[in-house]
């Protein structure tokens, strides 16, 4: 099994991650017409990927809680195990998160995509190291799920940091000494239509413009000291962290979906049996 992994190469082993990132990349740079047409399928895929990852993490959490507090023979175990309600909640949150991710990705410049793509090898490497570290401590059955769960925060933080630094360096439209309305009318691409996606894009773009306008004018007019200005910019730009977070969750979800799909054995409750994850075995 290990031989198969080395033979087929890293691309084969992590093709699902590359595929997910490629889908987002191609979609976010496709023309407006294509993007509008493919919006629904891409949204569904992104939602599903995010939901798979977050459901896995949520079930892990719930199980730990149940195992901690409830007796083995209590009927509550079954009720609280996580059913339709949990699934629905995660579907809803996942769909919204996917929407935010997709719309923000459409606005992202090409210069920031290398960061997003660089997150793939970083994710894979971090997963390997983390799994090796954890394998001595975590029950084998839960090792992959726990690894994935612990992976999201650091990778998302790193990616968010990188994107904030990139945003500090990337040029913005010059909005100093413009009125807000003027800034919006001048720099917002005046496009009618584009369907719902177009509306979301304009909405997101105007939100971003508003942020930049506010901060640029504050810095230039009030002559803020550099530390204060940097702090302000960081706080404003950290909203970009949402993109990084959603993106990493999507990747982790793709990972979970792949590994889960590989395993033929699942509990009747629909829970994955993580112990059968072949790829993550050390």
């Amino acid at each position: 099994m290990a031989g198969r992994g080395t033979i087929s190469g890293p691309l084969r082993r992590h093709g699902h991650l590359a595929l997910a990132a490629l889908m987002l990349l191609v979609w976010s740079f496709s023309s407006d017409d294509w993007a509008g047409a493919l919006f629904l399928p891409v949204w569904v895929v992104a939602t599903q990927l995010i939901v798979v990852g977050s459901l896995e993490a949520a079930r892990l959490r719930r199980r730990a809680w149940l195992g901690q507090y409830l007796r083995d023979d209590s009927p509550w175990r079954r009720w609280l195990e996580g059913g339709a309600l949990m699934v629905l909640r995660h579907q809803l949150v996942g769909a919204l998160l996917a929407l935010v991710l997709l719309v923000d990705l459409r606005l992202l410049s090409l210069a920031e995509w290398p960061l997003l793509l660089a997150a793939l090898p970083a994710l894979v490497l971090a997963r390997h190291r983390l799994r090796r570290r954890l394998s001595r401590h975590v029950v084998a059955e839960y090792l992959p799920a726990v690894t994935r769960r612990l992976l999201v925060a650091p990778i998302a933080a790193l990616l968010a940091l990188a994107m904030v630094l990139a945003a500090l360096w990337l040029p913005q439209p010059w909005l100093v000494e413009l009125g807000w309305e003027e800034a919006i009318t001048r720099h917002l691409a005046a496009g009618e239509g584009g369907g719902l996606l177009g509306v979301f894009e304009r909405l997101a773009a105007s939100a971003e413009l508003t942020r930049q306008w506010a901060m640029q004018n504050a810095v230039e007019r009030l002559h803020l000291a550099t530390p204060v200005a940097v702090l302000g910019w960081l706080v404003l730009l950290l909203t970009q962290g949402a993109v990084a977070w959603a993106y990493v969750r999507l990747l982790v979800g793709a990972e979970a979906l792949r590994r889960e799909g590989r395993s033929p054995r699942r509990g009747p409750s629909g829970e994955p049996a993580p112990a059968t994850d072949r790829e993550t075995r050390p």
Partner: protein
């Protein structure tokens, strides 16, 4: 707990797993569709609630409130009309310019017979001969032409007057074209105007076409920078009058006129120099018909004075009959060319003004402003700016 069950029934576990996966996909699709439908509905509601953006357009002193669709049609019409403005202006100006040019050149043409009379007069011919013998007859002849043709006819002042009149006329015609445009637009869109009874809450986007037209007129007639004066002064009515004309006389049209004048002088000069070369100095010295023959005759035969004068006059008349039509034709040809040049220069200013007018009208309000204003940096780089502010703070 699940271990044992899975171990016992692996194929039974596979089916629910796949089913649950499909269920997940189906659920995601459903959720996305639901969200999409909800958002779409919300968008629709917002769209109908906001009743589409209203645009307020001020045309010919009337304020029209247009819906988005009518406004789009209005913009298209405006663009088309602005594009048509050039031909309209050219057509309006062409006949006037033609008439005024003819009027301006009439004294010059009228001065030609007098010049030719002098040219072929006794005194003139002797002077020509003397200058031809002394050398450099071209400059002298040019000075003569300057004095006898150009100054006598007053073409210089006439052309200068024509320039100022042309500028004023252009301004008037432009105003007329713009007003006709406004009238057309008003007539076309006044019926489509939404009665402004409702929606007092949000002020519609206002486009002051009148103001923009005035601005466009200003930018066309002046090479910008006049806005400040117009704003500080007493309005635009004054701007298109005398001061503008005075200013324009020193501008492009003035230069065009000067070029035309210079061209006129050289063109006439070329013709005259040629005529001098063929029928002037060289011929005058050697030919039997020129005054030279007279001199030779006077020196060698010493004929009677009366006969001499009579013969001289007869010879001169002969020469005049021989050369005058050609010289006259050359002069008129040069004048016609100069006139065409002047007409071309004036036409160029007209079309340039029309193009600038069209540009000023077509350019969105927001975009025409930074071109006039001072240069604005294109991009804002946080790191650079912070570095700058740090320096200035320290």
């Amino acid at each position: 707990m699940s271990e044992s069950r899975e171990a016992v029934t692996p194929p039974a576990g596979r089916a629910p797993a796949r089913a649950s996966r499909w269920r997940g996909w189906a659920l995601s699709t459903l959720m996305v569709l639901l969200l999409l439908a909800a958002l779409e509905a919300g968008h629709r509601v917002l769209e109908t609630r906001s009743q589409a953006p209203l645009y307020r357009v001020i045309v010919a002193g009337e304020s029209l409130t247009l819906e988005a669709e009518a406004h789009a049609a209005f913009s298209r019409d405006l663009e088309r009309l602005a594009a048509e403005a050039e031909t309209a202006l050219a057509a309006r100006m062409a006949s006037w310019t033609e008439a005024r040019l003819a009027q301006a050149f009439a004294p010059l043409e009228a001065a030609v017979p007098g010049y030719l009379d002098w040219y072929f007069s006794l005194g003139g011919s002797y002077l020509r001969l003397a200058m031809g013998l002394a050398g450099d007859p071209a400059t002298w002849l040019e000075a003569q032409r300057q004095r006898r043709l150009i100054e006598a006819s007053g073409i210089e002042t006439a052309l200068a007057d024509l320039q100022t009149a042309h500028a004023a006329r252009l301004a008037r015609e432009q105003r007329a074209v713009v007003e006709a445009m406004s009238a057309t637009l008003l007539e076309r869109y006044a019926p489509r105007s939404v009665s402004g009874a409702e929606a007092p809450g949000v002020a519609p986007l206002t486009i002051d076409l009148d103001g923009r037209m005035d601005e466009a007129l200003l930018t066309t007639l002046d090479a910008r920078r006049w806005q400040a004066a117009a704003l500080g002064g007493s309005g635009i009515g004054l701007m298109v009058g005398r001061p503008l004309a005075r200013r324009l006389a020193a501008g492009a049209v003035g230069q065009g006129g000067r070029v035309a004048l210079r061209a006129l002088a050289t063109r006439l000069g070329a013709g005259a120099a040629r005529s001098l070369a063929s029928g002037g100095a060289a011929a005058a010295v050697t030919a039997p018909t020129g005054p030279g023959a007279l001199m030779v005759g006077a020196a060698t035969t010493a004929a009677g004075l009366a006969g001499l004068v009579g013969g001289e006059l007869a010879l001169l008349k002969l020469q005049e009959a021989h050369q005058r039509p050609a010289l006259e034709a050359r002069l008129f040809e040069g004048m016609a060319e100069a006139r065409r040049d002047a007409a071309g220069a004036l036409g160029l200013t007209v079309s340039a003004a029309a193009v600038r007018l069209a540009e000023g009208l077509e350019a969105p309000v927001g975009r025409s402003e930074p071109a006039a204003g001072e240069a604005r940096p294109e991009a804002y780089r946080i790191l650079d700016r912070l570095g700058l502010t740090a320096e200035s703070d320290v």
